[in-house]
């Protein structure tokens, strides 16, 4: 049986699954219930400045019969007073000494305010802090949340204020609403942060009602940007995670990362961890199904680790990170072609039309009588013209049948070089079209 325990810059947790700072981690009742059901830790819903909430607070995207592939919210930080939260945090930590309890904080941009709330929170016996530099709505307009996270200098400054007084690990939570997340990540480290977490929610408008013209979510006839989360944001989160985790300065500092953004299952969690998350945080999936989903997250990850022979999470955290690369370093000699398994093909011919209308016109429709695999219904079968196939993968991604179209690597004899190498060795090829054409002829690339 695999050991799921993690050590996150000194914060011990029985497993990597933490509740994200969000509505599910709003109260002692909720967090204790979550711990009872197996959650390893919780980042308390952000405490700090006084707020007033509105309704409705949530908007969702449902996709072709599936509910909530994306969810946005305009809810603010905790609307309960700081002392109530601190009392409950202390109680939870007392009752669950082995679970990670992290206090998320956000106050106005004043040194005294930050230092005071950190000092008050330390008395709860919590395991660490998360600085909320990411909330993109409501608080940002007041100069807090993402307003701080979007300015690297502020990120560094506030982190420094906090580090002056904090005796426990401090996690800086980053906003995705920025052009290059590397800047605030490096600033947080410069400010002395013990760890990073990402991503906070993404600015979004969920939709417009075609009958009433109202914005989703509708707040008394008005609407505005809210924080977008849920399964649909996972690819964005994975990208931002990988770019922070492979940033040389972040790597040098050795700070751990807590990843989040669309994690719903153990598989999602494994992906985040393969790209460098030590712990993972979950909110939307809990808002959809409740705390009980953690049972499968633990069971599924544990079974997966057993199958792979991983004894601890450290055996696989960051394992895919070395594969994160830049376009200029990709192998230009790597060639795949599509192969269609005609025994599996159900002749929907979506691959044909996708290739024909949206790719490179290298699938033909054939009468397959000669091959004797037809079912005699007179419909044509898609056949790849392999010499023309550019290996784009579109046909295989639109194919509705598992393992019907596979992308097969072929050896073309082309040199296994990269754009960067080519730019260095023969810069004219990468700068002039006729030289490029000549090079293609030389290595046998024919674009029809």
């Amino acid at each position: 049986m695999a050991n799921l325990e993690i050590d996150f810059c000194g914060i011990k947790s029985p497993n990597p699954f933490w509740l994200a700072s969000a509505p599910p981690a709003n109260s002692g009742y909720q967090v204790q219930k979550a711990f009872e059901q197996g959650w390893g830790g919780a980042v308390w819903k952000t405490i700090g400045a006084p707020v007033m909430n509105v309704c409705n607070r949530y908007g969702t995207i449902d996709y072709k019969g599936s509910k909530i592939i994306g969810l946005n919210n305009v809810e603010l930080i905790s609307d309960r007073p700081v002392d109530v939260n601190l009392r409950e945090i202390a109680e939870v930590k007392r009752n669950f000494p082995n679970n990670a309890v992290i206090v998320s904080v956000m106050v106005e941009s004043k040194k005294e305010a930050w230092q005071e709330i950190i000092k008050r929170s330390e008395d709860t016996g919590c395991d660490g802090f998360e600085l909320n530099f990411g909330c993109p709505h409501g608080m940002s307009e007041r100069g807090m949340g993402s307003a701080m996270g979007q300015v690297p200098e502020y990120t560094c400054m506030v982190t420094e204020w906090v580090m002056e007084v904090a005796t426990k690990p401090v996690i800086v939570k980053l906003t995705p609403n920025i052009t290059d997340i590397g800047f605030p990540a490096r600033s947080a480290i410069k400010g002395g942060a013990s760890a990073l977490s990402l991503i906070n929610t993404i600015n979004s408008i969920m939709g417009v009602d075609l009958d009433s013209f109202e914005i989703k979510p509708n707040v008394g006839g008005k609407g505005g940007h809210g924080g977008y989360a849920g399964p649909a944001v996972k690819p964005i989160a994975l990208h931002l995670l990988s770019s922070v985790a492979s940033d040389p300065e972040v790597l040098k500092s050795g700070v751990p990362i807590s990843g989040m953004g669309g994690i719903e299952t153990w598989r999602d969690a494994v992906e985040f961890m393969l790209l460098g998350s030590t712990s993972v945080q979950v909110c939307t999936a809990v808002m959809h199904w409740g705390f009980r989903i953690v049972e499968d997250m633990i069971d599924g990850m544990s079974n997966w680790m057993d199958e792979r022979g991983f004894k601890t999470c450290n055996d696989f955290i960051g394992k895919s990170l070395p594969r994160i690369s830049n376009f200029g370093d990709f192998d230009l000699g790597f060639q795949t072609v599509a192969r269609i398994n005609h025994d599996k093909c159900i002749q929907c011919n979506l691959c044909y039309i996708a290739c024909n209308d949206a790719a490179h016109q290298c699938i033909d429709l054939h009468d397959m009588k000669l091959k004797d695999v037809g079912n005699g219904n007179g419909r044509m079968f898609p056949v790849v013209r392999e010499k023309d196939c550019v290996g784009c993968d579109l046909c295989s991604v639109v194919c509705p049948v598992d393992d019907c179209i596979s992308m097969v690597e072929i050896e073309t004899g082309r040199p296994h070089t990269t754009w960067n190498e080519l730019s260095k060795k023969r810069p004219e090829i990468t700068q002039e079209w006729d030289k490029m054409e000549a090079y293609r002829d030389e290595v046998g690339i024919h674009i029809h």
Partner: protein
């Protein structure tokens, strides 16, 4: 979801016998299973789970299929029901879990049975062993009968460290799961695999040992700390009409059994078959006969469609298979020629006032006798109780209810402190089924555990309906 089942057409020249006796629902592909699993809403306090007699955590096992944790899914099932593979095939899901699915209101219920089978097949194909024998606790338990109740009780006790010996009078364990479930619903290997799994938990299964003949209850009570009686029921009772002993009159259960244990082309079937009784066993006999090649199969039932004991979906299945039904028809004589069945003489019936069972009683229509030409008559009018067992148990002060062994519902203990019972032999009310038998075995295992190890047994060790609520 594609509906795979294609009604069997009477065209035996197009299909081999083996093909006709394949499981009629093909196994789900991975994609089909995931698509169906993702339809599940993952309800809180899910009604499917409440409807399951063994309280399988259905939403959890389905979610685990959807996340790709199929191994974990199988474990979730087996934790509540060691015979999950059989139950996934034979459970009347339409009246249990699927019948209570919240999506049944305005969509199609989740195909819980087929998803369960997917997870069970996954585990079976990979020979995954989920449970080990518990730390020995020094207690010995005898189980009489290796049917589903006996296997379930044996397995649950072995997991907790009891030394269990299971006595089975037949050649193979599994009871009706092995011998009595029509093969296109459950291949015999599925049941035998479950027997093997129970043996791997350290249970000694002694086959070809019959209680009262090779071993006595007195010996068991002397040698063991507890005895669990799960002997099931007996053969189909006599119809008590003339001609019953003619060649070509068969016991329905024996007919089903032949298809499980003998090569299919060795099995004799009639061209024109009359099946007497309209319960689920009768439907099995009729559909087997059709698939073997019988041209005409009539089910003869003395009451009307509304009173027939077969499940509605079984009735629908039989109709699809081309079985004819003759309701309000009472067999009065099997007519023979040269010692062989030639026809079944029947009498028309009408429905009168409700009888003791609450159903309207059939009343004969005078002068309405007629003959149905046939060359085989299969009887499926229930099962006899094992009176020789209950007589022996009576010596231990054990009472009966309507011929069934009387037990305390909470523990399945009989009137004797060391003897427990479960399965069809205690089913004086309610439906006899594999899943109920499995639950009986669990209840008895808990009862035995509590009685021998004390009241301090932790609730989580007692995976019954009561403790999960």
């Amino acid at each position: 979801m594609a509906e795979h089942y294609k009604p069997f057409k009477y065209m035996p020249w197009e299909m081999s016998l083996e093909e006709r006796f394949q499981e009629y629902h093909p196994a789900y592909s991975e994609r089909e299973a995931v698509v169906e699993a993702n339809r599940c809403l993952f309800c809180h306090d899910a009604p499917c789970m409440v409807a399951c007699p063994t309280t399988i955590d259905i939403p959890t096992f389905i979610r685990k299929i959807s996340t790709g944790n199929v191994k974990g899914s199988a474990r979730t099932i087996l934790e509540s029901n060691l015979l999950g593979a059989t139950c996934s095939r034979v459970c009347p899901v339409e009246v249990l879990c699927e019948g209570d699915c919240v999506l049944a209101h305005d969509h199609k219920p989740i195909a819980i049975g087929r998803l369960q089978r997917y997870a069970m097949d996954y585990a079976a194909e990979r020979n995954i062993e989920f449970f080990q024998k518990g730390e020995p606790n020094g207690f010995k338990v005898a189980v009489v009968g290796a049917g589903p109740a006996g296997l379930s009780c044996s397995g649950e006790l072995a997991k907790r460290g009891f030394d269990v010996t299971c006595f089975e009078k037949r050649e193979w364990g599994g009871g009706l799961d092995t011998y009595g479930i029509v093969v296109f619903r459950e291949p015999v290997e599925v049941s035998l695999n479950e027997v093997k799994m129970i043996e791997k938990l350290g249970v000694t299964i002694k086959t070809n040992v019959e209680i009262g003949k090779d071993i006595t209850f007195e010996q068991l009570v002397d040698e063991f700390d507890a005895v669990f009686v799960s002997v099931g029921l007996g053969a189909v009772p006599e119809m008590q009409i003339p001609g019953e002993d003619l060649e070509g009159v068969l016991d329905g259960l024996e007919f089903i059994e032949e298809t499980k244990v003998r090569p299919l082309n060795d099995i004799k079937y009639g061209d024109r078959v009359c099946v007497i009784g309209a319960g689920n066993t009768g439907i099995d006999c009729a559909t087997i006969a059709r698939r073997l090649g019988s041209e005409r199969v009539n089910m003869i039932y003395r009451r009307s469609e509304a009173e027939m004991p077969a499940y509605h979906f079984e009735y629908q299945f039989a109709l699809k298979e081309g079985v004819s039904f003759m309701f309000l028809t009472q067999p009065v004589e099997v007519i023979g020629e040269g010692g062989k069945v030639k026809a079944l003489k029947c009498r028309r019936m009408d429905l009168g006032e409700p009888d003791a069972s609450g159903r309207r009683a059939p009343v004969e229509v005078p002068g309405s006798d007629f003959e149905i030409p046939c060359d085989m008559v299969i009887t499926a009018i229930g099962q006899k109780k094992h009176s020789h067992i209950t007589e022996k148990l009576a010596k231990f002060g054990i009472k009966t209810v309507k011929g069934y062994i009387a037990v305390d519902e909470k523990t399945n203990r009989t009137d004797h402190p060391k003897i427990y019972a479960g399965g069809d032999c205690v089913r004086s009310h309610g439906e006899a089924s594999t899943v109920m038998a499995v639950e009986d075995g669990k209840i008895a295992a808990n009862g035995i555990h509590r009685a021998l190890c004390g009241e301090g047994v932790k609730a989580e060790l007692l995976p019954t309906h009561a403790s999960k609520r």
